[in-house]
Structures are given as C-alpha cells and as structure tokens.
C-alpha cells in the first residue's frame, strides 16, 4: 500500500493576461502594480477623519480608514487618536466609551485602560496589579486640526514617530506660493486649508465603491459628460464641455518635489487641453454662454483640488478615504478665506443655500452614482485587466504610476475589523435593519435594552 501523501498544487491563482497592443499593456500595468495592490488604500498618510464640530469636548467617535479602526477623543481641550481595537480581545472601545479621566480611555468589556497620548496599557479596572500593565498598548495616530477639520496620520503599527511628515505633504499645492510654477491667469489664487482664516465647509458620506474608482473619477476629463444635465450648470448657464482632450505631451505636470506633496497638475483651459463643445455626428452642442474655467490636480493619498470652483475665491477639495476595499468616505469641502465674522456668515449662507443643494448634492451626487456604476466591473479584480482605455485616460494612468512610486505604504487587507468579513451575521442583521455599512462605529445607546 502506498501511504505517501499526494503532492497537490494550491488552488489556482488567476493568471494575468494582458495583450501587448493595449494602451495599458502588461508593461505599463506592472509600473502601477503597487496601485493595483492598494485595494484597501495607501497607509502612512494623512486623511481627514471628522469635522471639528463632530467631536465636541468629551466626545468619543470610532471610524475606520484603510482597514484601521481609529478612536478619536477630545478631552480637556486636547485631541487624541488611538487604535480602536482593544489589545485584549479586539473590542472597539468607541462602541461604549468609558473614560475615568481626561488622559485615558478604558475598554468597557474587561476594563483595559489605555493612556490616550502613548497608547500604553496603564491599568486594568479589576486587575490593577496585573503584570501585563505597562508592557503592551495600542498604536497612536498623530492628529492635526485646522480650518474646522480633524486630520489623522493613519499609519502601520511600527511606523516611526520621527518619520511622520507634516500635513502639508498630503495636501494640494498652495497658492500664491506655487503661482509661478503653476500659473493660472484666468482666476485669483485658490485658497488653501492651511491658509490663515481659511474656512472649510462641506460634508462627508459613505460611497459604495473602491476608493480608487472614486478618486479617478475626480480628475477624469472625460467624465464631465455625466454632469451635462446638472441643475447648477443650466441655472448658471455654464459652458461645461462634453469632455476635455489632452492636446500636447505636457498636458499633465508631475508634482514630485522632495519635501512636498506628490501628485499631478492638469493644465485645463490652456492650449495643452482642448475642450470639446460639440459632436455634430451625434447632433450635440453645448449652447450655454458663461465660461466656467477650472483646473483639477490630485495629490497623494488621493486629494482632489478643483481650483476656481464653483466660483471665484472658492476652491473645492475632495478626499476618497478608503474604509474597506469596497467602501470609501467621500469628503467634499469648499474653502474660502473669511477674515471677518460677516464674511464667515456670508460664506455659510451661500454654502447652505446654494453650494450644498446644487453642488455638493446635485452636481456631486451624480459622481457618486457614476462611481458605483463602475464598481462591479472592478470588484473582483478583473476590471483592472479588462478595461479598454482611451486618450483621455492619460490622467488616471499617470496618477496610478505616480501613486505607485510615492505612496508611503500599501494598506494590508483589514483583519478582524468592521466590514472586512462581508458575510458576517452582524453585518447581515444590520443590513436587514436597513443600516448600510458605514464609516462611524454604531454606539450602544441604551445599556439596558438591545
């Protein structure tokens, strides 16, 4: 009798078969392999976490970015971010916040108490002399609050403190500092989040697609066709082209300075790009009258800047913050410099009554459903091989290569975190209750009934 164990191959891995006559042939694709691997996002980058007003004094919120559960707390005026997963048995501390003082938070399940500034386990409620105390802890995340937004540096557990870059390295280029390098004669210098007196107003909401699909939509110059029927375009009589074609080989400039953001600037509304305003064969013509010049750029970890949008002195920023491989938090933020209270009020009024309903909603809602329409093609990974790209796709391809080169890390698939196991019974129950998978941790509100 032969009792030797048979040697078996592992279950077959899908083979990559990409023909050489394609724009994104195998060689090009391998240049952006790291980007293709980044389904769960890029890690070791600054991401927006919450608007300041979402985290008042003593508040605790749990969120998830790039598969990393993060807890934010504001106590005694200080802001903290630590990993929202107890080292003991993985409970999310934010689900039922238990804070005995302003410098720590305890896990509400077995009382593991963590120092907010260092993450160190500094006590256990019912085991204060445990030998484990002081020997373990959770990762902490640097925070930066500015212009009404809270940013968190989402990092791997062993990313060194001294290597954390300033927030400015993960934000778009600033004006007028870069006006000479990236001139923009058609509009006044775009304000930036880090500018003095900058006010950021906007919203964030969860989109059901991979973050890359969302991000690539923002600076895709052929996607504006989806906006052709939007209310704001016709109410304002804007000339929004059917699409914008690259006209020269310097249509895109790489932003790669050593100590700064990494990304790409698209020279829209210069002779390097040609707006397409009619298609006679299909009987299409843009007949609106008012020029609406703008320019898009994108920097790591996926931050869009639309200068001069939706009007002069205002800039729109967008983030597509990965939550899991099929969820992202869509941030739409408008920034304006307001030096007086009156200007603030005016900006707030205009935001509430014009931008919010017609731009943040109306115009950008359209982007949200467009991205979701693309999601299924890419969800199982085959879309990256099967997409048939065209001239205007130099924008996403350049971005993919650049991101592959400069991203500080590729997030590993989330393990033991919310929405990582798509078929878990808890997720099913929440869905049955009509709650879509989201960004924030759902809190246990009533301790006596469930």
């Amino acid at each position: 009798m032969n009792d030797a164990t048979p040697v078996r191959r592992r279950t077959l891995v899908r083979k990559n078969e990409i023909s050489a006559d394609r724009m994104n042939d195998e060689k090009t694709q391998s240049q952006y392999q790291p980007y293709k691997d980044a389904a769960w996002g890029f890690i070791n980058h600054w991401y927006p976490a919450l608007f300041s007003e979402e985290l008042p004094e003593q508040a605790v919120e749990g969120i998830q970015i790039a598969g990393v559960p993060i807890l934010l707390r504001r106590a005694a005026g200080k802001l903290y971010a630590i990993k929202d997963q107890c080292v003991h048995r993985g409970v999310r501390l934010s689900a039922k916040p238990m804070c005995f003082n302003d410098t720590s938070i305890a896990c509400w399940y077995h009382g593991f108490n963590f120092d907010l500034a260092t993450g160190v386990l500094n006590n256990i409620v019912a085991n204060p002399d445990s030998k484990l105390i002081g020997k373990t802890g959770v990762t902490t995340y640097p925070v930066h609050e500015v212009a009404g937004m809270i940013f968190v540096f989402v990092r791997e557990d062993d990313f060194p403190d001294e290597d954390v870059p300033p927030l400015a390295h993960d934000l778009p280029v600033r004006f007028p500092q870069s006006s000479e390098e990236y001139p923009h004669p058609l509009w006044p210098a775009a304000p930036g989040i880090l500018d003095e007196n900058a006010v950021a107003l906007g919203m964030h909401r969860t989109g059901q697609s991979n973050w890359r699909i969302a991000c690539e939509n923002g600076f895709d110059n052929a996607h504006i066709l989806v906006h052709a029927d939007n209310a704001i375009v016709h109410a304002m009589d804007w000339v929004l082209p059917l699409g914008i074609l690259p006209a020269t080989d310097d249509a895109i400039t790489l932003i790669e300075e050593e100590d700064g953001p990494k990304g790409q600037m698209q020279w829209l509304f210069t002779d390097r790009w040609t707006p397409v305003l009619e298609n006679p064969a299909l009987g299409l013509k843009v007949e609106n009258l008012k020029g609406r010049f703008y320019r898009t750029s994108v920097v790591l970890p996926g931050v869009l800047m639309v200068e001069n949008w939706p009007e002069e002195h205002v800039v729109q920023y967008e983030w597509y913050v990965p939550i899991t491989d099929d969820l992202y938090e869509y941030w739409e933020v408008m920034v304006r410099i307001c030096t007086t209270d009156e200007e603030r009020k005016k900006f707030q009024y205009r935001f509430d009554n014009l931008y919010m309903p017609l731009c943040i909603r109306g115009f950008n809602d359209c982007d949200l459903y467009a991205r979701e329409a693309m999601e299924e093609f890419y969800a199982d990974g085959t879309g990256w091989d099967n997409e048939q790209l065209v001239e205007t796709d130099i924008s996403p391809i350049t971005w993919r290569k650049l991101a592959s080169r400069h991203a500080r890390g590729i997030a590993k698939p989330g393990k033991g975190v919310t929405n990582a196991t798509k078929t878990s019974s808890i997720r099913m129950r929440r869905l049955a209750q009509g709650k879509a998978p989201g960004y924030k941790v759902e809190k246990i509100e009533n301790v006596n009934s469930y």
Binding site: V7, R8, Q33, N44, E156, S404, R405, H406, G409, I410
Partner: protein, 341 residues
C-alpha cells in the same frame, strides 16, 4: 586539550548564551546541544551560514580543514563555528538577533511554475510551494533544491520575499556539465515537483537601518539583492538610500534589467548601476567591474551598510574597496558563491 571550555555567544540584541565545549567538539555542535539559536546549514565549512566573530580568547578552525572563509576574514577575527575549536574560554558575537535562528528550516515540495532562459547562462526558475507547505524566511536567505532524478542538492538565494509566497523565484547560473544545469536545460518542465529545504543562511537584510545601503552583485548574486530591495520598499517609514551595483561579464549575460528598472520606478531612493566586464558601453550600461562603480562621490558614511554577493574574488575586492571608502568592516555582509561539488 582535555578539559571542557566555557564559551559565550552574543547575539546582536544583547542576548548571550553560555556553552560548554567538549574537547574535540566544534563550537557549533556545542551551541546546538545548548539550544543556542545560531544559524547554520552545511556543517562542513562551505556555506558560511555559521559565521561568527571571535571577540575574546583563542579559537581556530580544525587543523587541516578547508573552508570558504577568506584569509582576510580570518584576520579580522571571523570564524565558521562548525569548524572552530576553542582553545580556552572565548567569546563570539554574531551579526543577527536571537530570534533569527527561530525560523528553523523545513523540508517541502514545490511545483515548477516557469523555467525561463533570461540570459545566455542564466535561468529564472519560478517555484510554487505545494499545498500544505509553508516557509518563513528573511530577505536574502537561501534554500536548497534537490535536483529531480538525482541525489544532488544545490543552494540558491531567493529573489523573492515572504510577501510573494507561495511563489519563490531563483536565478540560476547554467554551468556546462552541471547537474542542476542539465536538469534545467534538458528536462525541467512546468508542473514538475521538486524537493526543497530551507531557509538557510545569515546573509539577510538587517532590520531598521536608516543609513545608506550599498549592494554589489556579481551575476546571479543579484537574487538576494532583489529580495532585500523589495523588503526595503515595503518597510514602514522613510526609505533609506539604496545603491545597487550589478555586474556581469558580457552584455548578453545581463538579465533582470526590467525588474530592476521597475523597482527604481517604485522606489525613488533606489539607484542602480549596471556594468559589464567586456563589451561596448551601451545606454545605461558601463564597462568595468561592479565594485569600481561605487566611488567616493557616492558619499558613503561609516554607518552605511553593504551587502555583497558573487564570486569570492569580487567579494574580497568589494570589501577592501568599501572599507577604503570608509565603511566599517562590521557593516559589510557577504555571501559568496560556493562551487558545487
């Protein structure tokens, strides 16, 4: 020498193991008996895995034994523990931490995924661990492959990292009349099964070094460098500067230029220099040896680390050259080709 001697082995993380070495016993055997986590593989003085530095006392290789230890290394105080006899109390240090030896070698089976001639005398062999086999290893380590249909065993550094598992890639030089070469050229086919064991060796990337890295590779000595570059690329934190100098004898002997170029695209801190000993200089290819391609202008500092892999003469020359450029001898790590027998 008739009485047992006390010997200490110090690991880079500060952990020390004390051993009693019996008369006639090698320090390696004593270390293994005492369960000290030292790295080793062949036990015969050829592979170089059990390299250690003699810090105190007197110890020499067994009289009459031949080994791959270079005379210059011996002079600097290096010994191969498998051949070393202690003459009185002594202390050795090793360049790896006490956890490195924890990944004990395993024996397993692999399927052949691809056999590809990538230069006149180099074959790329892609293996895939069979179901039920796994292996943990450090970037730069090697495995042994049993040549199918023979009893011959050969050692090759992996050009890939654990992140690529179950796939393992080897770069193998084709030698006329070689047992492995004969199998690769005449018989090897996709889906063949080969027996492997490993990982072995202490030539691997040292963790968390921020200083510049120099890598000098001759021929298929490129394999461990590719693995180390991939590991550096995905390590969290600021990437160190990496200078790879890769040389072959002739232009048609060059290989893996595209993977090197890709890694340069993915890692802006990687600089690569390609050399050939003979032939016409071409675009991006210089004529000369890979050692001389590194110069004082590269601004190497005493804390720079160097990894060398290639034939003994290249390693000897590279060591001298790098020490001359200011590198500390203890920061130069080498793996030399061992002739098959």
């Amino acid at each position: 020498m008739l009485t047992p001697t006390k010997t200490t082995i110090a690991f880079s993380d500060g952990i020390e193991h004390e051993l009693t070495v019996e008369p006639g016993q090698s320090v390696l055997d004593a270390a293994l008996a005492a369960q000290a986590p030292v790295l080793f593989q062949c036990g015969t003085g050829s592979c170089g895995s059990c390299l250690a530095h003699l810090d105190e006392g007197e110890a020499e290789h067994r009289a009459g034994s031949s080994s791959s230890l270079l005379p210059s290394e011996r002079e600097q105080g290096y010994r191969l523990l498998c051949l070393t006899e202690a003459r009185g109390a002594c202390k050795f240090s090793v360049g790896y931490d006490s956890a490195a030896g924890a990944g004990r070698p395993i024996e397993g089976k692999c399927f052949v995924n691809a056999v590809e001639r990538i230069a006149t005398d180099v074959v790329r062999l892609e293996l895939e661990l069979a179901e039920g086999c796994w292996m943990d290893f450090r970037p730069g380590q090697f495995i042994q492959v049993k040549v199918p249909g023979t009893d011959a065993v050969r050692s090759y550094s992996m050009a890939t990292t654990v992140a690529d598992l179950p796939k393992i890639e080897l770069l193998i030089r084709i030698l006329p009349g070689g047992v492995m070469s004969d199998w690769l050229v005449n018989r090897a086919a996709v889906d063949d099964v080969v027996e492997v064991s490993g990982p072995y060796g202490q030539f691997f990337l040292k963790d968390k070094v921020r200083a510049p890295h120099v890598m000098i590779a001759g021929g298929t000595g490129l394999a461990p460098m590719l693995a180390m570059i991939d590991a550096l690329r995905v390590a969290p934190g600021r990437k160190p500067k990496v200078l790879l100098s890769f040389g072959c004898q002739t232009p048609d002997g060059l290989f893996s230029l595209e993977p090197i170029e890709l890694r340069q695209h993915w890692m802006p801190t990687l600089d690569a220099r390609i050399s050939v000993d003979r032939g016409e200089p071409a675009d991006g290819i210089r004529v000369g040896n890979p050692v001389a391609a590194i110069t004082a202008e590269d601004g190497l500092t005493t804390d720079s680390v160097a990894y060398l892999c290639g034939p003994p003469a290249m390693i000897e020359a590279a060591r001298k050259h790098l020490e001359h450029l200011g590198l500390a001898p203890e920061n130069i790590f080498a793996e030399q080709f061992v002739a098959s027998n």
